[in-house]
Structures are given as C-alpha cells and as structure tokens.
Symmetry: C2
Subunit: 366 residues, 2 copies
C-alpha cells in the first residue's frame, strides 16, 4: 500500500470512524482503524463489534493494499496534519505504516488487515426513510429515557416500530417512558427493532443536513444508514421489549394545561434545594395554579405557576429531574399533564397533537 491523500480529508475521515473505536477491549484489533486502498479510494473503517463506521476519501494511489493501525494514536497524529496539502501513507515490511509530510516522517506499528472483522453492508430486507430533522427530533425526545444500567440490557435501547408509514420510538427505564412519532416514507414493510441508545446518539451526530432524507436499512439484526459516503451500522438488541401499551393509562381524573418553560424554570430552582433530598418535589395542583414545593436542610422553595385544571385537585410528588427531562424533551409552548392518583403515573403531552408523550412514575410519600 502506498498513497498520497489530502491532510484535511484524512483528518475528517479519521475523526468520523474514530467514534467506533473500542475503548475497552481485550482484542487490540478493535482499537484500530483499518485502511484499505482500491483504485483511487482510501476506505477507513472501525468497529467495536456493536457499531461500525466506514468512510472513504480520494487517494493518489501508487500501490493498493490494506493495513490496520492503532486508532487512538493515528487519530491524534492525523489531527495535527489537517493543514498539510499532501500526506503520504505507505506500508513497510507489512508491520509499520510510514507517514510522510513536509520534510518529516513518522512510523506507526500496525497489525495485519486479516485480523480485522468483516463489516456487513449488504443489507436490504427492510427499509424506511424520513428527513434528518424528523429523525433527530424523535431521538432527542426519547433516547434520554433509555436505561443506563445493565440490569435489563434490552432497555438500553429504543424500540422503533414501523407501522402504516409511521415511526414510533419508545425509550423507558422503569421510572419513566418517552414516546415520539413521525410520518415516514418508502417503508418496505411493518417491523420492529430495538436500537442501542449509543448508536442512536452517534447517528444523530452524523446528521448535518436537516432537510435531507435519511434511509434506514435493516436485515439479520443489523441496522445500516449511509450519510454523505459514511456507512454506519449497528447491531440491534435482541429480546422482547416491555409491552409499553399495557402500562399506558387510558383515562385520567385531572388534566392541567401549563406553560412548559415556566414550569421547567420553577422545577430547576426547586431542584437546587431538592438535591439533598433525592430531587423530591411536591406538586399541589389547584384550579388556577400548580404549587411547586421543595424542602431540605439547606432551604425551601415554594412557587405558584399559573395553570388551568380540568377535573380534581391533586397532590403528588416526583423526582424533579424526571419532570425536567420530560419538559426539556417536549417542544411546545404549552403542555398538558394528566393525573389520576398520587401513586399512579402522570402523562405529559403537547397541548395539541399527539407527536410525543412522557409517562412518569410519582414518588410515594407519607
């Protein structure tokens, strides 16, 4: 392998694939970036066996070939070359990569390309498309509710249901649930998949053109997207997701219309004193206002927020963080909140429409 590439192109490509480099692994090849040269194209790939990223740049090729370089050090190094017009990469003695730029040279030890895992890209069974903006919106509204601990690994991903040309995305962690929906296009069939939260976060970072469409393709427990020449694949989580429809209350005794930003600001202030008491805030919902109370050794917050209640008064307590997260995820000026009793979940929805909802378990207090 011997090529000359542009420093900026190389640096950008390495930055992209670096996201898939494994940080803790016993297999050194998963800490590497694979370089493959064919014709006038250099393809870079990295995988940690959960996600894989592959991207290509133009190369002036003197000899085709491939190798595998330690990802972290190569990425750090290439970042310093981003202003070099020409960077020469060549494989010497099969085990070191020579990098030449200006009047300087660097040698990095490398591994054999044969050890690098194959990344599957020949998927086609199921597919659907939507705008990048819509996809990001759905993910931003739901992914933060995914579980982060290992106790139920299936909850570390979002359920994505494709049905009747609509995508429904659900994240839940046992204390709260988020659901968001969007119309999709070109859906090949109705299907479900559970996508790791980490992969969803990485995908949203790749999406820079809000108005452009993005196509998701899935087969054999792998999901693939391609954005501007970068191919991103992720394994799907296997198992049964929680039947979330079963836990969704269908009727409510109290409905409150409230300003999202005002309520959020108030809860954020309450959180400051509530930190010492596990973020406990008490809400007293009356005809014309919601009273927000937090109490701890260091202080006491007591605020009234204008609101409109339909139905019964109620007193209920929450982890303020969960309420704040849901209010931040929501996007409308006003939201509706629905309650039954102080020990049953509350629901949060836009004041009009049903594009998203949050379900939050209250904290039972004496």
């Amino acid at each position: 392998m011997k090529i000359v590439v542009n420093g900026t192109d190389l640096s950008n490509a390495v930055m992209k694939v670096s996201k898939a480099i494994s940080v803790k692994t016993t297999n050194p090849v998963l800490e590497c970036i694979k370089l493959s040269v064919k014709g006038d194209v250099l393809t870079l790939s990295a995988t940690d066996m959960e996600i894989a990223i592959e991207t290509s740049i133009r190369s002036d090729t003197f000899m085709e070939g491939d190798t595998v370089v330690p990802g972290k050090i190569f990425a750090e190094f290439v970042k310093k070359l981003e202003n070099e017009e020409q960077v020469e990469l060549s494989l010497e003695d099969d085990n070191r990569l020579k990098i030449v730029y200006s009047s300087s040279e660097v040698y990095l030890s490398c591994l054999s390309a044969d050890e690098f895992p194959t990344i599957r890209k020949d998927l086609r069974e199921k597919a659907f498309s939507l705008s990048q903006k819509d996809f990001k919106d759905v993910i931003n509204k739901t992914v933060f509710c995914c579980a982060t601990d290992e106790s139920r690994p299936i909850l570390k991903g979002c359920l994505m249901e494709i049905k009747d040309n609509e995508l429904t995305c659900v994240g839940l962690d046992g204390f709260r649930l988020a659901l968001a929906k969007k119309r999709i296009r070109n859906s090949s069939a109705d299907f479900k998949m559970i996508v790791p939260a980490r992969a969803l976060n990485e995908i949203t970072r790749l999406l820079e053109k809000d108005e452009e469409e993005i196509t998701f393709i899935s087969e054999d427990n792998i999901l693939l997207i391609e954005v501007d020449g970068t191919v991103f694949t992720t394994r799907l989580l296997e198992g049964e997701f929680l039947n979330y429809k079963q836990i969704m209350p269908s009727e409510f005794l109290s409905t409150v219309k409230i300003s999202r930003q005002t309520f959020l600001s108030s809860l954020e202030r309450a959180t400051i004193v509530a930190k010492e008491s596990k973020n406990l805030v008490k809400l007293e919902i009356k005809e014309n206002y919601v009273n927000v109370k937090a109490n701890s050794e260091s202080g006491k917050v007591n605020e009234n927020i204008l609101s409109v209640l339909e139905g019964k008064d109620i007193q209920i307590a929450f982890n303020a963080k969960f309420l704040c997260d849901a209010l931040k995820g929501a996007s409308d000026e006003f939201v509706n909140m629905y309650f039954n009793t102080p020990i049953t979940p509350c629901l949060l929805r836009p004041y009009s429409g049903d594009e998203y909802l949050y379900l939050i378990l209250p904290i039972r207090i004496a």
Copy 2:
C-alpha cells in the same frame, strides 16, 4: 436586613465572589457568602482565608443588616434569577434568608454574620501600576511554571520583584523556570513578594479591560487589587524564594534561531508517540536544521525543522511538554535557544529583546 435588588446585578456579583468560596474546609463559614447592607449598597464577600473577594451592588434598602448564606446553593439559586427585574432578600428570625421573586419564595438557612472573618482592605504601604494587558501577559508567560505539588510550598507562587520601575515575575518548579518583565508606573518603592499562583490566575480572570491600568497595593503580607468595584485580596507566601539568578548560565556554546510555531507543531506531533516514553524527545541541532526524534513502542517521529545555528552542533533530550509549554508562553515569531552541554539547562528567549526567558533542564540519556 430587607432589600430589593436587580436579579442580573445580584447574579453577576455572586458569580464574582464565588471564586473565593472554600471548597474543602472544616469551617462552614468559609463556604459562605456574606451579605451586608448599608445605605443603598449591598456588599457581598467571600474568603477561604487565602484569597478574599468583595463586591457591591445597588440595593433598595428597607432595613440594613448582614447575614452569611451557604455559598454554593445561593450561587446556584441566584443564577436562575438572572432575568428577574426585582429580587427581594430579607433576613427572618436571624437564621433564614427569604428570597422573593415573581409569585415565588425561597428560604435558605443562614449563619450569623459575626462568625465571618474580617477582610483587611486598609493597605497602603507599597504600590505599583501597569496596564491590565501587560499584567496578564507577564502572568500568562510565567504562572504555568509554578510548582503544583506541596513539597516546596514557596514554589507554588510567582516571585514578583518591583525594582527601578520594572516588574520582574518568576515562576519555577525545579525542572524549568519562566521569567517575564514589564515597565510599571507609580511604584512606591522597590520590594519583593511571592504571590500564590492560584491568586494570580483569579486576578487575570477579573481583568477585562486590556487598556486600563491596574494598581497593586501590598502591606503586611497581603496584596490587594481593585477592579471595577471588586476588591480582591490574597495572602502572600512567606519564606525565601530560590535565588534564581544563581542558576542562570551566562555563556553558551550554541545559539539556534528557530520559528516558534513550526518547532511547537513538530514537538506536539512528537509528543503523541513520546507519551508512552515520558514525553522524551531528542533534538539534534545542526548548522541548518533541528532534528526532532521521538520513539516508543507504538511509533516513531523524525522531523527536520529549518533553523540557524551559531556555535557547536549539539544533541540533547527534553521532556517535550516543558519545551511545548515554553514555546506556547513565548509570543514572538522567532525565538533563540541557547545551549551548552546535553546536561546543562537550555535557555529560550525572544529573537530580539529580553522581555521574557525560559530555562529548561534537559533529560540525561545514555
């Protein structure tokens, strides 16, 4: 105490004094902010017994008085009120501060103002002035060389020598030394002081008007500055500073003129592979170039930088970080480096002038 103040004013003032709140102390009053109201002025102060910061804002005063509130929680809270036109602060039952804004109220537990240490501000013995820009320049060029470990506490500060209307500032940690000089004005007398590095860093953060003058006043081991109504004081370090003039070589066998940025970039690349080998870089200084070499298991860097040598060729090794720090501290396009032997310190100076210098110990290699 009962006052109404503007939320933005309060938030800005609290942010300023917060820098002096102690983070680890057995004395709770040092984690607090003192509020004192006299006439139409609210004065806020905080101290950790090393540094102290005091600032004032206008208040609509209904009752004078003072109290001491837990700093961290008060700061967090007040930050959320920065858009409130009017915030009412009042002391209730001598032990809680009531904060009222919009239709809301908060209570914070507080301590008696009697417990708060007195902050001395009646200093006048010694003084000097210079522009904020010049002071920041001197500090940025030297403070990073101060020791950070506790083994020789006196080296955790910069020596500042005021002599013949010139300020000389020196920081050193046993491996390297930085010195920078500026003309000063209105100096009352020649004197020396050792100012804690932390205090110098905080002072530079207070200085936002490059062209304005700043006056330093010192007496009884305390240093004071006043910037836009904020009074900052710090204790000086007590003891004898190292006699740095004694370790300064006066003659050199080799002088190299080199481009600062080119040399720095090269050393930064070398550092990437040198990390595993304690940042060791080897320099080979020849008539027309400096060769930079670094070597470790993961790779090898080998670069030549154009330069001009007067005197003998030399091979010498350094901790690349110390060279990089000095080159970043320096501000000219070209610098001169001076060498004697591979085991004696090297000196770095601007190509012309003597506003600053760095002295760096080499690493002895086999």
